[in-house]
């Protein structure tokens, strides 16, 4: 983001910025996430764009942790490659994150903790006794508590942010708690705000350009949870696992208000089985997990394809394989999501492109699950799960789906697995006019659900189940293309890789390259309309956070190569557990472009 800090105007003593990237580095118990959270919310309320990024240790009692906030008055697509400001709470935070600071950036550090500073890159260092000043402000035995609020006050002062609005947000957040909590928070905040930093240039963010409608700011797991509620999900079951858990926590607490139940199951196998039971009972049900949990659910997910039951399955991907990197981001579960069960198990796979889209992808998953009576997997990822973005509040009058339970008596012609129709089950409680009741079966079956080993029947039922994918591929919208419809390269990205991919596309275009970018939300089946999109480009570069494996291509690139048998499809892959930096994508695409010309 080094270009972004160029001043727009210098009419007064403050430099006006279009973007600012601030990185807070400390330990997870210092409350640096809440500093970031407050700034993100403020950005949302001042029509600015925001994106956050955090790393959390997977240990319980804390450890080094960062929270990065990217505030911008225009579109913000990534959490920022480089920080303009680094706030270091400890020596180890300083040492680890100094490199993330841009040339000529500002470092605010706790002078009680950080003793050795580097004189490099023209960084402007300001030592402030965060801890001592906070203790002085709050008094008593406050110790470390509250220093996050002190730092928040400092930042508001340095960037000349809307103090009044922020105090409102803080008051609402802490107002629910003990009165002294809010008082101490505001004392620390005011002390930070009033702290005389001395000889430093202060900044001001340009006014936000986002639509002035109601804007909200939250993370991907929250939006996914609320999207499921809006989609009509009232029943579900799951087992705790990082980074999925906060979705089940939200649904467990929220569903009673909506008359529903979310069950904490004894294990992943039970969780998916309970959700399938709820689906069989006639509801739009869901389960979810992260990597290892999805592996455990695979047998039952195959059953849901075979028995043709509607089910939403959320997989918040994390670093694999095995236990892997529980708190890091990766997109290496795509193949498993599509093909992970034994046998031919047609099912749908979707991926949200950003935090806002987590809401809409849940609606789309609900629509597909109902329409095709099939399992639908939503592939979110760790980056989307925890980062905060600000965006337009969804219009519930437009999107709300009322849950239904269709127990209308079925006539004598009705059968659960008719070969000439997409299955729509009759749940328990439904009277069968013909007197014959349906069997739901994981054995290959005839139209009534009776076991059948008949060769012809197996082929016909396989065709019937596959047909759902073919119908959906024809129905799905063309992927969104950013840029021109033709050119030298089309960057394709899915999930959280979309933000940096889009920004990389802009950067390449500004350098004169004929490059566009497309996001794919429907990963399986791929929309038929994708054919026309790819046809306009000499190269197609898939940007994915997974390994290029034995054949040199990432997982989506492998699928595209299988579908199109076209060597113009290439990969930019990485698995370092971190979100893509824009320059990593730029470099990767440039390499492919150069190779193409050679």
């Amino acid at each position: 983001m080094s270009t972004a800090t160029a001043p727009v105007s210098s009419s007064d003593s403050k430099k006006t910025l279009r973007n600012a990237v601030i990185r807070f580095a400390g330990n997870s118990q210092d409350g640096i996430q809440s500093i970031g959270g407050f700034l993100a919310r403020l950005a949302g309320r001042t029509a600015q764009e925001v994106m956050t990024y955090m790393t959390i240790p997977s240990t319980i009692s804390g450890g080094p942790s960062i929270f990065q906030v990217h505030l911008g008055s225009g579109e913000v697509l990534t959490a920022g490659d480089e920080a303009d400001v680094l706030v270091a709470f400890y020596q180890h935070s300083y040492d680890s994150h100094f490199t993330a600071l841009r040339q000529g950036g500002i470092c605010l550090y706790d002078s009680g903790e950080v003793k050795e500073i580097k004189h490099e890159k023209g960084v402007f260092h300001i030592g402030i006794p965060f801890t001592a000043a906070t203790v002085e402000a709050i008094g008593g035995s406050a110790k470390d508590r509250g220093k996050n609020m002190f730092v928040l006050g400092l930042i508001v002062s340095v960037f000349n942010l809307d103090k009044e609005k922020l105090v409102g947000i803080i008051s609402r957040q802490f107002g629910k708690k003990d009165e002294s909590v809010l008082r101490n928070a505001l004392l620390a905040f005011d002390a930070g705000y009033a702290y005389q930093i001395g000889d430093i240039e202060k900044f001001a963010l340009a006014p936000g350009e986002a639509d002035s409608g109601h804007r909200i700011s939250t993370d991907g797991n929250q939006m996914l949870s609320l999207g499921l509620l809006a989609a009509g999900v009232r029943y579900g079951a799951a087992y705790p696992i990082t980074p999925w858990s906060s979705i089940m926590e939200t649904l467990r607490s929220e569903l009673p208000k909506y008359g529903g139940i979310f069950v904490q199951a004894e294990d992943e196998l039970a969780a998916v089985s309970m959700a399938i039971g709820e689906a069989f009972a006639g509801h739009l049900a869901m389960t979810g997990s992260s990597g290892p949990g999805l592996s455990l659910k695979m047998e039952a997910l195959g059953y849901a394809s075979m028995a043709e039951l509607p089910l939403i399955v959320v997989n918040v991907q994390r670093g694999g394989p095995s236990t892997g990197l529980p708190t890091s981001v990766e997109q290496s579960d795509l193949m498993q999501a599509i093909y992970g069960s034994h046998g031919d198990t047609p099912r749908f796979v979707l991926a949200p492109k950003d935090v806002e889209d987590c809401f809409y992808i849940a609606l789309e998953a609900g629509r597909i699950a109902r329409k095709y009576s099939s399992p639908v997997i939503i592939l979110s990822d760790q980056a989307l799960s925890s980062r905060i973005e600000a965006f337009e509040e969804p219009d519930l009058d437009k999107h709300w789906v009322e849950p239904t339970l269709d127990q209308t008596p079925r006539d004598a012609e009705w059968k659960p697995y008719r070969l000439d129709k997409t299955t729509q089950h009759a749940p328990p409680g439904t009277k069968m006019a013909g007197g014959k009741y349906p069997h739901i079966s994981g054995l290959e079956h005839d139209e009534w659900g009776h076991p059948s080993g008949n060769a012809k029947m197996h082929q016909q039922m396989t065709n019937k189940r596959r047909q759902k994918l073919l119908d959906a591929a024809a129905e799905f919208a063309a992927p969104e293309v950013h840029g021109d419809a033709t050119g030298d390269a089309l960057i394709i990205a899915w999930g959280s890789a979309w933000g940096p991919a889009k920004e990389a596309c802009d950067r390449l275009r500004s350098e004169g390259h004929k490059v566009s970018a497309a996001n794919i939300r429907h990963l399986h089946p791929l929309p038929n309309k994708l054919d026309g999109v790819l046809a306009g480009f000499k190269n197609v570069v898939c940007v994915e956070m997974n390994d290029f494996g034995a054949y040199g291509h990432g997982q989506l690139a492998m699928l595209l190569r299988a579908k199109y048998a076209d060597p113009k499809i290439k990969s930019v892959c990485k698995t370092d557990g971190l979100a893509f930096r824009v320059r990593e994508i730029v470099t990767g695409v440039e390499k492919h472009l150069a190779a193409g010309q050679a």
Binding site: K257, G260, V263, L269, I276, G277, L405, K431, Y437
Partner: protein, 308 residues
């Protein structure tokens, strides 16, 4: 949930109290695939009879099973039924039971499905006291896969996986269920029709997680397994005298289960404890009472407003 959801037949039933009599004929579906002489036939016949007697509306009966010979049960029932994967019938049935308080959920399965691959689920369905009835047709052997040792196979019994005789200690179903927290635990025998009828009836009428171990002979791979409790074959049939055994006393029940070869038959344990179904419903009711009738859509709108 039941309020938000259309239940078209409910008001109609109230207006016209015509109760159809449930018959064995209506309940009968495919002819069972079991071997001639299999104990499971008697269990199926008895289940038809008990359902007829209790006259549960046919469309409200749900039969679920996992994998195994006995787990083919759903195909032989002309009711809403589901044949699931190995060992997971209980969690699936839990999903049905919790989300549909208006239906009656029955689970059938064998000793491998229930005590081995599905063992963990048995413990948790029991402690949560899920409202359903689970009948374990225990034959002490894996029959569908043709004679391997099961978790209830006695020590010394030869099978294809224990050619010199089983060496692993079998589980004691009664003790395991007591420790798990099941609220109705009973034991019966497929050859004792009257006893089976009484136990099935009581199990179905119990408001909670009711589980019955029903010894059911595999004539193909373990013939004679239960002769020791079958008077016709020279065995001793001994039932639990409930004037002597307090069924609410778990310690007494545990002692009673000390020797199950052949042991006693009847109700080992039965207590009233709130079901998870009731506890979840209470949470829903208490939560909704505080909301003052706000519509569900408005609830979510308010939630978004708080995020501005």
């Amino acid at each position: 949930m039941s309020t938000a959801v259309a239940t078209p037949e409910a008001p109609a039933a109230a207006a016209a109290p015509v109760v159809e009599k449930l018959t064995k004929k209506a309940l009968t579906a495919d002819h069972p695939t079991w071997c001639p002489g299999c104990g499971d036939f008697a269990v199926l016949a008895m289940f038809y009879r008990v359902l007829e007697k209790l006259n549960i509306p046919q469309e409200k009966i749900v039969v679920v099973a996992g994998i195994g010979c006995s787990s083919r049960f759903p195909y032989f029932m002309n009711t809403h039924s589901l044949h699931f994967i190995h060992g997971r019938a209980l969690p699936l049935a839990t999903g049905v039971s919790l989300s549909r308080p208006d239906v009656h959920v029955f689970v059938f399965g064998g000793d491998g499905d229930g005590f081995s691959i599905g063992g963990n689920h048995l413990n948790h369905a029991a402690r949560k006291n899920i409202k359903l009835t689970y009948i374990i047709m225990d034959n002490f052997v894996y029959g569908l896969t043709k004679n391997q040792t099961s978790p209830t196979t006695p020590i010394g019994r030869k099978s294809k996986t224990d050619p010199t005789g089983a060496i692993d200690r079998p589980i004691n179903p009664m003790k395991q269920l007591l420790a798990s927290g099941a609220t109705f635990i009973a034991r019966t025998h497929a050859a004792q029709v009257k006893h089976m009828e009484e136990i099935f009836t009581r199990a179905i009428q119990h408001d909670g997680f009711s589980v019955v171990e029903c010894l059911s002979e595999c004539v193909m791979f373990y013939p004679g397994a239960f002769d020791d409790s079958w008077p016709k074959k020279g065995g001793v049939w001994e039932t639990i005298d409930e004037t002597q055994h307090d069924v609410t006393d778990d310690v007494a029940a545990f002692k009673l289960a000390d020797n199950l070869a052949p042991g006693k038959f009847g109700v080992y344990y039965q207590v009233d404890r709130p079901t998870k179904n009731a506890l979840e419903q209470k949470w829903i009711d208490d939560t909704q009472a505080k909301l003052g009738g706000t519509s569900q859509k408005d609830l979510l709108k308010k939630r978004f407003e708080a995020m501005r």
